[in-house]
Symmetry: C2
Subunit: 392 residues, 2 copies
Amino acid sequence: MLNFSYYNPTRIVFGKGTIGQVGELAKGYGKRVLLHYGGGSIKKNGVYSQVVESLKAAKLDVVELGGVVPNPRLSLVREGIALCKKEKIDFILAVGGGSVIDSAKAIGFGTVLPDNEDVWDDYYMKGDCVVRKSLPLGVVLTIPAAGSESSTGTVVTDWENNLKRAVNSETIIPKFAVMDPETNYTLPAYQTACGAADILAHLQERYFTMEKHNDLSDKMLESAMRNVIAYSLMALKHPNDYRYRAELMWTGTLAHNNQLDRGRVGDWASHDIEHEISGQYDIAHGAGLAIVFPAWMKYVYRDNIDRFVQYALRVWDISLTFDDKDAIVEAAIDRLEAFYRALGLPVRLSDAGIGNERVRKMAESAMIGRDSVGNFRKLKADDVEKILKLAL
Amino acid sequence: MLNFSYYNPTRIVFGKGTIGQVGELAKGYGKRVLLHYGGGSIKKNGVYSQVVESLKAAKLDVVELGGVVPNPRLSLVREGIALCKKEKIDFILAVGGGSVIDSAKAIGFGTVLPDNEDVWDDYYMKGDCVVRKSLPLGVVLTIPAAGSESSTGTVVTDWENNLKRAVNSETIIPKFAVMDPETNYTLPAYQTACGAADILAHLQERYFTMEKHNDLSDKMLESAMRNVIAYSLMALKHPNDYRYRAELMWTGTLAHNNQLDRGRVGDWASHDIEHEISGQYDIAHGAGLAIVFPAWMKYVYRDNIDRFVQYALRVWDISLTFDDKDAIVEAAIDRLEAFYRALGLPVRLSDAGIGNERVRKMAESAMIGRDSVGNFRKLKADDVEKILKLAL
């Protein structure tokens, strides 16, 4: 087990009818609020009106910026930064899923950068940067997926250059997140499925490590994996059942708040490779992960087969003799692919209508701004190309 | 799943050689530090000198108050409050286990109470009180057990009146906890064992609920239970093995930081009943829990036998037919008792040299300041008496 630190001060307010608390939660952070959201689904399902009513009851001034799209764009981030400066915004409230929250995080620290620093060039394109300060941020979460509601991370896409990159820093962890599972009833099945694949991926990225003797984290991650596998399928079959939506939503937060993986370095190659696919083809992040993860597993598992055997046994209950570890791992990957298919997701690039035309380009693009991706095995462009070919 | 909120801002710094960071961590909270500790074991194992050196390097003024005993005393708390006022203390650093931390929490909020409020009468004796403010508190943890290093709770004993009572409040959550598992190498085996029983008890108290459909919390708690069961026995056999000490120490924190049980009301009757035993006989809290828990289980399990069957299957791997649920539960309780015995702990009052003389007195004392104990079943004095008799 590696030495670690852990700090996560997000206040979670979870459950039915909690959205009306947002005004009270927000009002300690200043009077002028940027309300940031996506394409308007929150106006159809009533979340928008509940939020605005609560903010007004708390006597807060609201400035709006909608229009966040999946794989949130740097262009809107720049627009948001200019708006926050012009309107002297004190606090940002993100209402939506991970894309909205990630966009809000970028606006939040981008607004208070010194004039000689650029949000993209000096942060997203620079890997291990530290964000020194940010406007405070609150969240009303409507999609369980990215875990951004209490994470250190934000992922933004420079669509002009097809680059999708992340920043991770304690400073941008949201102050609070209001999570009402009832808001998930109206999610399209495909969005529920992509969210589940993202949650599982966050757990798998943390699970596949070369660090040994870190068993509490292993057991916690296995529990959360078993939970998202079981309840995502139930939520798809029974979209208006609170019990299953609530399991999925809370699992999504714990999968990514960093408490379950202390004492190790996770992998994250599958995320980085997926970012190349969605950076090029604008597919849903969860769908891209369902394509990449099985291929990544097949490519690297022999580097630490015992870790994959443990995964096979403790997550997928594979009952095959230890004499044949390859078969155990193969069976687990088969189960994983069957799970993705049961969710209605692609598990090959071809399932998503993607051919081999840009495989080399994606492999090379993955190396821009860094020497390799992943930690379980440090992957170079040639490795990424081979993984993408396994996924064709 | 019940609606819930969750907030835990303790910064955890975990691992080998981390104690030297305590000065840096403390120095943001003011110049005058009360260093609070126990009977002097920290002077023997080198922790004390590392802490003092680090505080001095950070140019902090240190005032000392040692002498905390297990089942920490109200009398020392009152002494600490007077000392903090006299010395104009800004920050309290607790160095030790749960008793030291709980004493420090009491001193921390007791020091800043209005003159017309008393730390004992108006807080510990009043159940659901809210603590409005407190001196900030940091921790150097040397015993994995109470989880107080990042919990909302503090338990103090008024020894003159044999009353042991708790306060729970967000305000008293420590700002940081430094946890070096190497400090546990010199713990006596019995103290390691009592700590493990306390950790398991924190998980079991959270597990036994009447709330349904809260399965992520169930799975997390089961994982942590399996971990403390496995690694406490390994740590006893190999006291200087970092791997096992680290598992035990981190499990102790997660068992009690409230993240693993969101969405339910836990039970806590076994804790309250144990507080009567240690309030009367001054035995170790963990030993008292090993005596109470099996008896409590036998007394209440039929109220929700399916919950106990799930516990039997998912924690103890009991392989008996579902046709005979009583047998499944009986086998699980047998395994639990065997585990406690393997730790070297008593599982009956008689094992601890305690007879039936004060059973009625303890049952009645448990009702002082409240109508019942526990939530799985609300227990009155007669119930507590019956449970204590089952434990004779």
